[in-house]
Symmetry: C2
């Protein structure tokens, strides 16, 4: 999956001691995305903007804040998180790769 005419940021975002690492881009229209890898474990992220998370490799399970429902996603699937909310994402094995789209 390629994104053309973007500004790419060389410095990675490192979360949870490197268990989650992403590189960000800014699209021509100012929209921001990040490409990330998640190593096995369970991690909670808060959102400011709403996010659409596209899983592009591997798989994960997700529980949205305020929900009891655990859903599984694999490459080609996506889930959405509301603004000012959060989610817990768990990777059981291997590496899960994603594209995070920040939605205004």
């Amino acid at each position: 999956m390629d994104y053309k005419n973007v500004t790419a940021h060389a410095k990675a975002n490192v979360y949870f001691d490197g268990k989650v690492v992403s590189h960000g881009i800014t699209m021509e229209d100012g929209e921001k995305k990040s490409f990330g890898v998640i190593f096995p474990g369970s991690y909670h992220f808060g959102t400011e903007a709403a996010e659409r998370m596209d899983v592009i490799d591997g798989s994960c399970t997700v529980v949205l804040d305020g929900s009891d429902e655990k859903a599984s996603y694999r490459a080609g699937e996506h889930f959405n998180i509301a603004a000012n909310s959060g989610f817990t994402i768990e990777v059981a094995e291997g590496i899960c790769q994603y594209v995070c789209n920040y939605i205004d």
Copy 2:
């Protein structure tokens, strides 16, 4: 460090079970670069094209193939590797981040 008007590739390059992870970009003129993170350990990479490695965070020690000399590099420093050669890069602690520039 930002790179403008590039094509960014969402899928990461994963080496050594994820101990080295990078995301690639292609510049307007076709030149390729990758932004990577290296977790602690020692890794050998071969080169096809010549490479210039810019360390942008953390530090590493490097031994070029065919050399006995171990050199240390930290953020702001770089080293070059010849085409069709290789190097061993070691990170003692923390995460070392780099920009790899592939040189024609």
